[in-house]
């Protein structure tokens, strides 16, 4: 089942209130429930509350939103010009929350169950749950807007929460971007994303422009007048995700300024409103044919709790909905990691965020991270310049010729297994090795567990198979953005007893028949390894150098046609990081 959730935000400006009235009337015309979140200035403005009283229907849920709060009242009361809730000093955040909750209860007779912010960190979520246990569901992050939107907004948008899940989840007490492993680790609030994003653009471009937000689609100029077929393909794509996970969630949060003629990104307001109206009609039509359920945030939260428990994993198989070309990506998130595999690069692992270190991601002037809430990657092909710097992939050699799995574009099939895992496979791909040809298929098994099982199978080879060598490679570099940090302190290792400290030396260590090769990365509190489930002939540990600041781990096998070569990519908490 796809759960669709139309969310409005009540702002104080007159043009925004007029736009809000349009949004609300359209939803009521179609009997669609909404979640309507009030901002700080609107909460203290009688005219805005009068709008709410007049326009609200029986199925409309009210809650609070923590953006757009800066106002003369706020400045007078709290004495700070900070404009992002997630960056406010904690004392101000506490007092601000208290004031909003008290005012909401005074206005509406009860405390809210649904709240929203562009980022809400773990400290804040836990504080809210403890102080206001009525809160059941919260919008807590803007999926992968961080680094790329910072550049896209001309270095003015300090919203960094890269590295978390795209789907709803139970956030961990240690870091709100990490899905909790169990109920004990979870903050008892269902976290939902601020908008759903195009899951290919989330890897390499502006996923705020390509999202469940008609206004931003105008900003991206992917509309033609009021027409935007991409929007409806995008909703179809989220409907398809329900087949993989058993459920899917679509967060459609168009704050009122986007439906105002005054908005800078909207050329023709009639077209923008016509597209918004058409989208709501589409949601209604889907519901009438049983494809989705239009819900409020709190209704979705209850459905989610009934279907999902802390520790469960989620996957996304996303196809190119913009150009409808061949590109596909597969994402997985669980309490151990988030991983993205790019079928344009033969299924290479192109973004990998290991959560084993449970790093502190709290934000604000008291916190070491200050504004940088990005959960670190160990692999980010986008931020590190290509798969030759950070990625996990395989290569095959006959001794004279070599190809890489990244040489070929492919499609994926994704299937759920009986034990609750997922297996995704590339197509069988034909490669040339000199005069000979070889057909290789790759498959990955992902689940709620830490290990990602990687299988490579040589299906055909026209040459002498005893000459073949298949090497699994992991290029890693920890970071949260493009500039590399100091990699000294990382220790590369091969099981049983080889160690190579990272020192920008470009040295290599070769090990015969290792059980595993790995790296202990203290800054992430994580030990990552490739374990040779199929016995390996050789392992290589590769130190980087300053012009190529990344480490390399290799496991080399002698593949036999028709037999799987299996490697397990695993992360564990690092002891004494």
């Amino acid at each position: 089942m796809l759960y669709t959730n139309v969310i409005h935000r009540v702002d104080a400006r007159a043009d925004s209130r007029a736009a809000m009235a349009f949004q609300w009337r359209e939803a009521r015309r179609l009997a669609l429930p909404t979640t309507t979140l009030l901002t700080y200035p609107a909460l203290f403005m009688d005219e805005a509350i009068a709008d709410v009283d007049q326009l609200r229907g029986d199925t409309d849920e009210l809650g609070l939103h923590f953006h757009n709060f800066q106002s003369p009242r706020f400045l007078e009361r709290f004495g700070t010009r900070e404009s992002a809730f997630w960056l406010l000093p904690r004392e101000v955040r506490r007092a601000f929350l208290d004031e909003m909750m008290t005012a909401f209860e005074r206005r509406f007779g009860h405390l809210p169950k649904s709240i929203g912010g562009y980022i809400i960190d773990a400290w804040t979520l836990a504080h809210i749950k403890e102080t206001y246990p009525s809160v059941e569901v919260a919008i807590t992050s803007c999926f992968e807007e961080g680094v790329k939107m910072f550049y896209g907004n001309n270095r003015n948008w300090f919203l960094f929460s890269d590295g978390g899940p795209w789907n709803p989840y139970f956030p961990a007490k240690a870091n709100a971007l990490i899905p909790a492993a169990d109920a004990e680790e979870a903050i008892d609030i269902v976290a939902v994303p601020h908008l759903n994003r195009d899951m290919i653009m989330a890897l390499n471009s502006r996923d705020d422009l390509f999202a469940s937000h008609p206004g931003n689609l105008f900003r991206a100029r992917i509309n033609e007048g009021a027409a935007c077929p991409y929007l409806f393909r995008f909703i179809d794509a989220w409907e398809r995700q329900a087949a993989l996970n058993g459920w899917s969630y679509l967060n459609i949060f168009v704050s009122s300024p986007w439906m105002s003629p005054a908005h800078w990104a909207i050329g023709n307001i009639d077209d923008a409103r016509a597209l918004y109206r058409r989208m709501l009609e589409d949601l209604k039509e889907r519901e009438e044919r049983g494809a989705n359920s239009n819900t409020t945030m709190v209704e979705f939260g209850a459905a989610f709790r009934a279907r999902v428990k802390p520790g469960d994993a989620t996957v996304c198989h996303w196809k190119d909905e913009i150009k409808q070309a061949k590109r596909e990506v597969v994402w997985v998130a669980n309490s151990h990691h988030r991983a993205a595999f790019d079928m344009n690069r033969g299924g290479a692992l192109v973004d990998f965020r290991p959560y084993a270190g449970r790093l502190d991601g709290n934000l604000g002037p008291e916190c070491p991270a200050l504004w940088n809430g990005n959960y670190p990657f160990l692999i980010s092909t986008e931020h590190c310049g290509g798969h030759w710097n950070t990625a996990q992939f395989a290569s095959v050699s006959d001794g004279s010729h070599t190809f890489s799995t990244t040489d070929r574009r492919t499609r994926a099939t994704v299937e759920k297994t009986e034990n609750g895992a997922w297996i995704f496979r590339t197509e069988p791909l034909r490669f040339n090795l000199g005069a000979h040809s070889l057909v290789l298929q790759s498959a990955w098994e992902v689940s709620a567990q830490t290990g990602i099982s990687i299988r490579r199978t040589v299906l055909e080879y026209s040459g002498d198979p005893t000459a073949l060598r298949l090497t699994e490679t992991f290029f890693g570099r920890p970071g949260t953005h493009e500039y590399p940090g100091d990699l000294r302190g990382i220790t590369l290792w091969a099981d049983p007893n080889t160690r190579l400290p990272f020192g920008y030396s470009s040295k290599e260590a070769t090990v015969d028949s290792p059980r595993a090769v790995g790296a202990d990365v203290g800054s992430l509190g994580v030990s990552v390894s490739m374990e040779a489930v199929t016995p390996a002939l050789r392992g290589v540990l590769g130190d980087g150098w300053l012009f190529k600041p990344c480490f390399r781990l290799d496991l080399t096998h002698a593949p036999e046609p028709g037999k799987d070569v299996v490697t397990c990519l695993t992360t564990r908490p690092l002891k004494n990081p």
Binding site: M201, N204, A325, K326, R327, R409, R430
Partner: protein, 66 residues
């Protein structure tokens, strides 16, 4: 066959060029009628002429023309 550019000179990805990212060569996938694609961004094109026209527009723009 690997997805290499065909035997003609490799094409620069015009979308990467427009973002002033140093030449990223397009790959060519012969399946499904053939498609040029970029592994850096998501640019795709069905024919060489479309790629060259896109690139040419950006080059003219760089010279202040058009």
């Amino acid at each position: 066959m690997p997805d290499n550019p065909p035997s003609q000179k490799p094409l620069i990805c015009p979308a990467c060029f427009a973002r002033e990212i140093d030449p990223v060569f397009l790959h060519f996938d012969p399946e499904d009628g053939g498609e040029f694609y970029c592994t850096h961004c998501s640019y795709t094109a069905r024919d060489r002429g479309a790629v060259e026209a896109f690139l040419s527009d950006h080059i003219r723009h760089r010279h202040g023309i058009g």
